[in-house]
């Protein structure tokens, strides 16, 4: 009996220790072990090298699943892509944590984060690798001196770009805006109103929409100008732009001093305009509390007349199309079991993107990004030669012709067939919705890390971003995305702190504090909880709580950087 008890105890202890030790390793290590075990059966083949990356999840696209195209890449390069998914709006936060914990092997950064991470020493210097393992990328960098200049941080290159931004060639180095403003064009027609051109006209049009309630949803349900997550979601950029300012943007004045629009007179005017709109029931009363799903419901259910958004929300996950489908069903023009086929080359039925309205001084525009958004692919500090080798294989493959074709069109003979005028959808596609088919297969949407943002055009030459979007989203959307993006950009509204990474170790907590102060005051001004004569108090607090200090640091860094 005693011996039995002892045996059972020993067994339990061994199992528990085993489990603990087993749990100690990271999932990656476990998989490595599994891979080793598998490979022992087949000594010839080396186990695939894992490459950990982070992917943004926007809307309901299932980016976490491995797609056939990814599997094809894995097979070809003997790698295993480990995708960690983060919601689009918290991507940067999760990415920062993963970089800090050494849990990322490859990442794609916007230019500001690229400079920031490079300066902080978080990224690998690719100088030597470009010579030895990334010849195609080196060729690219040498070919476009403008690109090389952009990629260099203190004389070193820390990333390669999959988009040697030919956009700039076409657009004459024009900056770009990601935000859009849309209006219900059928409401304008119903009420016989022209497209509003100025911010005052927008106010009057919104008032007319509210009074007429064109779709009869009930005035209490109308949210004529809508947005979500306050001002941080690009939704109301066009309002600020009309007053010559942008929310959360720093600019360099004529003397090279970096200043914030958040405490400018233009900002005060913009807040006053929003406050008035809120008071008149024209601005959605839920703007500070609702999230994207609630906004989407309102857009689709005819409660909204003006709606601003990132172009991705509008075209990649087309809410307006859902609205069209719903309306056509209600009108009996579409059967319940019938799938709505929208023509990607045609404008939307109910929504019209309009030019951002002009303000009292004739200004307009939206938050704008630099002419060349390089989105470099970088390797966080890594000392594993095998892994570095695998990442380089992936980076090289994704800009090779073979890789480009696979990523852009899929597998030849399955997803596409090569015709005289270039690739056309393969026989497997049949009657399926091509856009959905491509998503399921992972064509042109593999991951933001390996996906080239341009691809071979029909002439099999590297084409423009414009071509990519035209094919994926349709001609109409492509024009909206690229051409209007350039047209509506305002270089005055480029955030110099972000674009040139003017931060240092002291600035983050000061900036966070000032952002809290700003958001709280702005929200209270707009909903009428604070009178506008408290504006000066806000500005004074902003400067005394670190605003002055930030201006000093940013201005100093700006001078050094320029």
């Amino acid at each position: 009996m005693k011996r039995n008890t002892r045996f059972v105890c020993m067994l339990i202890v061994l199992i528990l220790i085993g489990s603990s030790v087993g749990c100690m390793g990271s999932p990656t290590e476990n998989k490595d072990n599994e891979a080793t075990i598998t490979s022992s059966k087949n000594v010839e083949k080396e186990p695939p090298t894992e490459i950990r990356m982070i992917i943004a999840q926007y809307s309901d696209l299932a980016v976490d699943k491995a797609t056939p195209i990814e599997e094809e890449i894995e097979k070809k390069l003997n790698i295993k892509l480990i995708k960690q998914v983060a919601p689009g709006d918290s991507l940067k936060t999760k990415q920062n944590v993963l970089i800090a914990s050494g849990s990322l092997d490859i990442l794609s950064l916007d230019s500001a984060s690229y400079y920031d991470n490079a300066v902080k020493g978080n990224l690998m210097d690719l100088g030597e690798l470009l010579d030895t393992k990334l010849p195609l990328h080196k060729q690219n960098i040498e070919k476009w001196p403008e690109l090389k200049k952009l990629m260099q941080v203190k004389g070193k290159i820390y990333g390669v770009t999959l988009m040697p931004n030919l956009l700039t060639k076409e657009a004459g180095a024009a900056p770009l805006t990601n935000s859009r403003i849309n209006i219900r064009k059928d409401w304008l027609t119903k009420l016989g109103l022209p497209v509003p051109k100025t911010i005052d006209q927008v106010f009057e049009t919104a008032k007319a929409f509210y009074n007429a309630d064109p779709d009869g949803v009930g005035k209490d349900k109308l949210c004529i100008i809508s947005a979500c997550n306050g001002f941080s979601y690009l939704n109301l950029d066009w309002v600020f732009g009309a007053f010559g300012v942008a929310y959360d943007v720093w600019y360099a004045d004529s003397e090279g001093k970096v200043q914030s629009y958040d405490v400018s007179t233009g900002m005060k005017e913009a807040i006053e305009w929003l406050r008035e709109a809120y008071k008149e029931n024209l601005l959605d009363k839920d703007i500070f509390t609702q999230k994207e799903p609630q906004l989407k419901d309102k857009v689709v259910n005819d409660q909204v007349g003006f709606w601003g958004a990132h172009w991705g929300v509008q075209y990649a996950t087309p809410w307006p199309r859902e609205q069209e489908e719903k309306k056509l069903r209600a009108e009996g023009k579409l059967k319940a079991d019938e799938k709505y086929q929208w023509n990607k080359d045609e404008p939307m039925l109910y929504w019209e993107p309009i030019d951002p309205p002009k303000g009292p001084r004739g200004e307009s525009g939206m938050k704008t990004v630099q002419a060349v958004t390089i989105y470099p692919r970088c390797i966080p500090k890594n000392e594993d030669p095998k892994k570095i080798d695998a990442i380089c294989r992936l980076l090289e493959y994704s800009i090779s012709k073979e890789g480009g074709m696979l990523l852009s069109y899929g597998i030849e003979g399955v997803d596409y067939v090569m015709g005289a005028n270039g690739p056309t959808p393969g026989p497997v596609v049949g009657d399926k919705d091509y856009n959905q088919y491509r998503q399921e297969r992972g064509i042109d949407s593999v991951t933001s890390v390996v996906k080239p943002l341009w691809k071979p055009s029909s002439e099999f030459e590297w084409g423009y971003l414009y071509d990519v979007d035209k094919e994926k989203y349709g001609k109409y959307a492509a024009e909206q995305i690229v051409l209007n993006g350039m047209k509506w950009a305002n270089p005055k509204l480029i955030n110099v702190v972000q674009e040139y990474a003017l931060v240092n170790s002291d600035t983050p907590q000061i900036a966070a504090k000032l952002n809290t102060l700003r958001d709280e005051y702005f929200a209270k001004f707009v909903v009428g909880e604070l009178p506008m004569d408290k504006w000066d108090e806000y500005v004074q607090k902003w400067y005394s709580n670190g605003g002055e200090e930030l201006i000093g640091i940013y201005s100093q860094n700006y001078k050094e950087r320029m």
């Binding site: 008890t5 002892r6 105890c9 020993m10 339990i12 202890v13 528990l16 220790i17 489990s19 603990s20 030790v21 100690m24 940067k92 936060t93 920062n96 944590v97 970089i99 800090a100 920031d116 902080k120 020493g121 978080n122 209490d220 349900k221 949210c223 306050g230 009363k285 839920d286 500070f288 509390t289 609702q290 999230k291 799903p293 609630q294 309102k298 500090k381 170790s505 600035t507 983050p508 907590q509 900036a511 966070a512 504090k513 952002n515 809290t516 102060l517 958001d519 709280e520 702005f522 929200a523 209270k524 909903v527 909880e529 709580n545």
Partner: protein, 306 residues
């Protein structure tokens, strides 16, 4: 009492070598996941950079602590954290006890199990899901406002956008999520009460309420104190996920807590040293609170946690 303790001790001594072995996995767990990571606390005293790592980053002494303590925003979020946590403790702690007492009196087993299952479900849902549900129901254009408040009272209430309601929403949603799960420990304690005490009280003419007040509640009081002491140790954890999902700039003055503030400064802005300093500060306060409450509990005649 002594009669019971002695044989138990003897048994324990006889089996001690093997029983000590059973502690190894637990000790390993604490060493690996609790003590070794404490080394990372160093970054609170350093200018941490990822490239340099913990050891290579330069020392900055108490820079981040000074920064934290001299920051008026920090004190505001500190106050909010304390208030929200205290409310949760004050209003939330009795609920699972009451639920356990009520469930203990339910005689129909299937009904009891049903209620238990229903009350446990929210515990398994993440705050993302619960936040989404409550947002959909309670926001200004949500169901509660449009279908109930407006038709009946002619006005809507912005539960998430009005400083007067925000803390109440936090406390209520927290109680809803945790009451079922937290009642398990009390239900377990109730089952260990000697049934003869209830039989004796029934003979003496005690009703159900009297039994609950004079037998059940005093018998589980030591467990209540242990739970309370542990909860007080967490007083500066007001529930990051919950607040993060539900708050917005209009209610920063009442809803912004230490964790959300640290999230904005530390993670969004890449400043891990500051976050570590705040985390260490929270840990110290939590430990002091546990020590204090434990002493108070003992002085009130309860067992405490050690």
């Amino acid at each position: 009492m002594r009669m019971i303790v002695v044989p138990l001790n003897r048994t324990f001594k006889q089996r001690r070598p093997m029983l000590y072995l059973l502690m190894i996995p637990g000790i390993l767990f604490f060493i690996i996941y609790r003590y070794i990571p404490m080394f990372g606390v160093l970054i609170a005293f350093k200018e941490y950079s990822i490239a340099g790592g913990i050891l290579q980053s330069p020392w900055v002494g108490l820079k981040y602590f000074n920064m934290m303590l001299s920051d008026e925003y920090f004190w505001r979020v500190f106050k909010n954290t304390l208030i929200i946590s205290s409310y949760k403790l004050l209003f939330g702690a009795p609920v699972p006890i009451i639920l356990a007492l009520m469930l203990n009196e339910v005689r129909k087993t299937y009904f009891k199990r049903f209620i238990q299952s229903v009350s446990y479900i929210p515990h398994f849902l993440s705050w993302i899901v619960i936040g989404g549900i409550f947002l959909q129901f309670f926001y200004r254009s949500g169901f509660i406002n449009t279908a109930i408040l407006e038709p009946l009272f002619g006005q809507r209430i912005d539960f998430f956008g009005d400083s007067r309601f925000f803390r109440s929403i936090l406390v209520l949603t927290d109680i809803w999520k945790t009451m079922g799960w937290n009642s398990i420990i009390y239900l377990a304690a109730i089952t260990s009460i000697n049934a003869e005490m209830y039989e004796a009280s029934t003979i003496d003419g005690a009703g159900k309420f009297q039994q609950a007040f004079y037998i059940t509640l005093p018998s589980i009081m030591n467990i209540v104190f242990i739970v309370l002491i542990l909860d007080i140790g967490n007083i500066l954890n007001a529930g990051f996920e919950q607040v993060f999902i539900l708050y917005n700039p209009i209610v920063y003055n009442v809803g912004d807590i230490i964790d959300t503030f640290v999230y904005r400064v530390g993670l969004e802005q890449f400043n891990f040293s500051y976050s570590a300093a705040v985390g260490l500060f929270k840990g110290l306060i939590g430990m002091l609170m546990v020590l204090l409450t434990n002493r108070v509990a003992k002085s009130l005649g309860q067992e405490g946690i050690w």
